[in-house]
Symmetry: C2
Subunit: 391 residues, 2 copies
């Protein structure tokens, strides 16, 4: 493999010269065997690091990102110009303290911020992969991350942490590489995608597939973009990220820039205007095919299925410490799904703590200023670090 500061491939969503962080290109001597039976080679993993790796390489915190996020967990995002998606949690003196820990966050396989995915150029053809990119699973994402850490010379991970699809990766890490995972913090997640979760994803995918500009996935070739379909997909998904109460409190039935309803189909209500904005702004920063691939990976996630359908077997014999966090108003990955994980861990006498945080912000709470989450993560990380003598 070759470490490159600036990998050379098409990134249609990032302006030329923009930084995607660091990247490692794995050459054909390091192929990635996928769950589908296919092999991806060569491939690239783009990532960011924050903090400094200590000499013992014992202070690594691997942060796993959710569906539409990326490797820019902290500091300023080079494309959007906004703070990283977990800048509230990751940084000097913050709960994931970069004065103490070496934080690694990689763009997932199938993503669209530098890691190999459907929007990137297929080296075999010189054209964007599109639907020729192989379907990837959460386990494949984790395999690629493991290869990244191998390439960085990192063995043990002090803590692997993430929310939502990031939490799925955390669980997969604990299941696939128990000997490398000192501790794991899955947040607002599940060990399997539920029927309702799959249903919402399928609506989003059908919205994209219905857009004639999708062109059977070859829109880059035709220089189009299924913007309308992707925006609808995002709008539907966005509702599921918020609680009914949060929507009511924030928007109620308030009108947008008008005193009266228009008796028409304009965005009369603030909630409509907000959703439309969520849809259109998403299109500027995310690739439609990548959205198809990553939602599919989440749908396919069913950790117990690898172990005869018994979730506890996934974790039998684990020495990792777990801290599971859920939010009371999260109806996408409700507390019950998170508790299922805790029960499975209890069944094999694993070291697990479970925290349900009272909030009305819904699923998105894991990205927000939630002091109890901060305190929980800080306390857990401190305890784990002390147990491993990480200063």
């Amino acid at each position: 493999m070759a470490e490159t500061a600036s990998p050379r491939f098409l990134r249609p969503l990032a302006a030329p010269g923009e930084d995607i962080g660091q990247a490692i290109a794995f050459d054909p001597s390091h192929p990635l065997a996928l769950d589908s039976g296919k092999t991806l080679s060569p491939f690239t993993v783009a990532y960011m690091t924050y903090g400094r790796l200590n000499d013992a390489k014992s202070n690594v915190v691997l942060v796993c990102h959710a569906l539409t996020l990326d490797q820019f967990a902290a500091q300023r995002h080079p494309v959007t110009g906004k703070p990283g998606w977990w800048d509230v949690l990751v940084g000097p003196g913050k709960p994931i303290d970069t004065n103490r820990f070496f934080v690694v966050c990689a763009n997932v396989l199938g993503g669209c911020m530098g890691t190999s995915g459907p929007a990137e150029i297929d080296p075999a053809t010189g054209e964007p992969y599109g639907l020729n990119f192989p379907l990837v699973t959460v386990r494949d994402m984790v395999r690629a991350q493991a290869m990244l850490l191998d390439a960085m010379g990192i063995g043990e991970i002090l803590c692997v942490i993430g929310g939502s699809m990031g939490g799925m990766q955390v669980l997969q890490w604990a299941a696939s590489y128990p000997e490398r995972v000192v501790s794991a913090v899955p947040i607002a997640t599940a060990a399997r995608h539920s029927a309702q979760n799959i249903a919402f994803h399928e609506v989003g995918r059908q919205a994209i597939l219905a857009d004639p500009d999708w062109k059977d996935g070859a829109y880059q070739h035709f220089n189009t973009q299924p913007s309308k379909g992707l925006a609808v997909a995002r709008m539907a998904a966005h509702i599921t990220y918020l609680s009914e109460l949060a929507l009511q409190r924030k928007f109620d039935r308030n009108l947008q820039d008008r005193a009266e309803i228009s008796f028409g189909f304009d965005a009369d209500f603030r909630i409509e205007s907000y959703l439309r904005h969520q849809g259109t702004s998403f299109v500027d920063r995310f690739d439609a095919n990548s959205y198809l691939y990553l939602t599919r990976a989440m749908d396919y996630f069913d950790l117990a299925a690898e172990y005869g359908g018994v979730l506890a077997e996934t974790f039998r014999g684990t020495k990792s410490r777990f801290c599971i966090i859920s939010f009371t108003s999260d109806w996408l990955f409700p507390t019950a799904e998170n508790k299922r994980i805790a029960h499975a861990l209890n069944a094999v006498a694993a070291n697990v703590s479970f925290v349900e945080i009272a909030t009305d912000r819904g699923h998105d709470a894991f990205l927000l200023d939630e002091p109890e989450m901060f305190a929980t993560v800080r306390g857990f990380l401190n305890a784990v670090a002390s147990s491993r003598d990480v200063k």
Copy 2:
């Protein structure tokens, strides 16, 4: 006005010669003044009746239908060939006993089963209305129903009953015509559409508007149909009609006609296949513009807004008897919204009973075989009928 057995207008969704029931065409001497300030004239109301009007005209039960339903509450639906949407509840010996009661059910204004709506021919132009049809509100729907009953020589309604958007009409009837409403049964509804409800509707509308075959609402003129957009809208809405538990119990992560996942975007999961079927079959029976209009009418519904924002004022002085029914697992119109109505009625010392029915079938429970709902409706109707000496 003129009573016609078979009104003459374009009904693109019903095959020629198919029965849409009865219809009354209101000529220009009976215009309909709308909330928007516009006037609709001439216009038609299509409806069905079941049972026999007694000599005292005291046994009328007005059934109000939900968003995508129609006047065919009972017996065989002439277009779909399936039982009417409330055939479990309406018929001889059933809770709404047509041996005893005279049931009227009218297609709502803006609908697409014979009552004037965007899919019908605008008499002023000879072309389908499309977006030239005026926006209508739930109050406008109820006004049209009141004109229908006037035309039928019916004054007092023994009971007005309906679920979801039908429940909104019930509440509007009780608010607008308290002297005509002996009793009212709003089921699984709300006195206002919430921010989350508006959000889901807006997703559906944007899916339709994104479909190039929508053609700014003039698809009939171009002989196209925004089938893909309407199907996506239906899929998103359909998820909200079912509880998470019902989806899990019915579909779980079961695969559709295959033993293994396909590592692709086929409908691997039964829930996907089911949703796609819901989408495509809906397109065969419903008009896309009608869907836009009726979702908008629901969004605009806010009963208290007519009365200074105080819901109780809506019902002050009412002599109607109310029976409010909600379902534990309905997250679209949750018990809390139904209780709000009960509280408002209590605040003005109205005669109200409130029943929350334990079920895991979600919002759609009001359309299903729910014995406790049947018993509640039967008991309430019996009591009301007895009080009015209806045999």
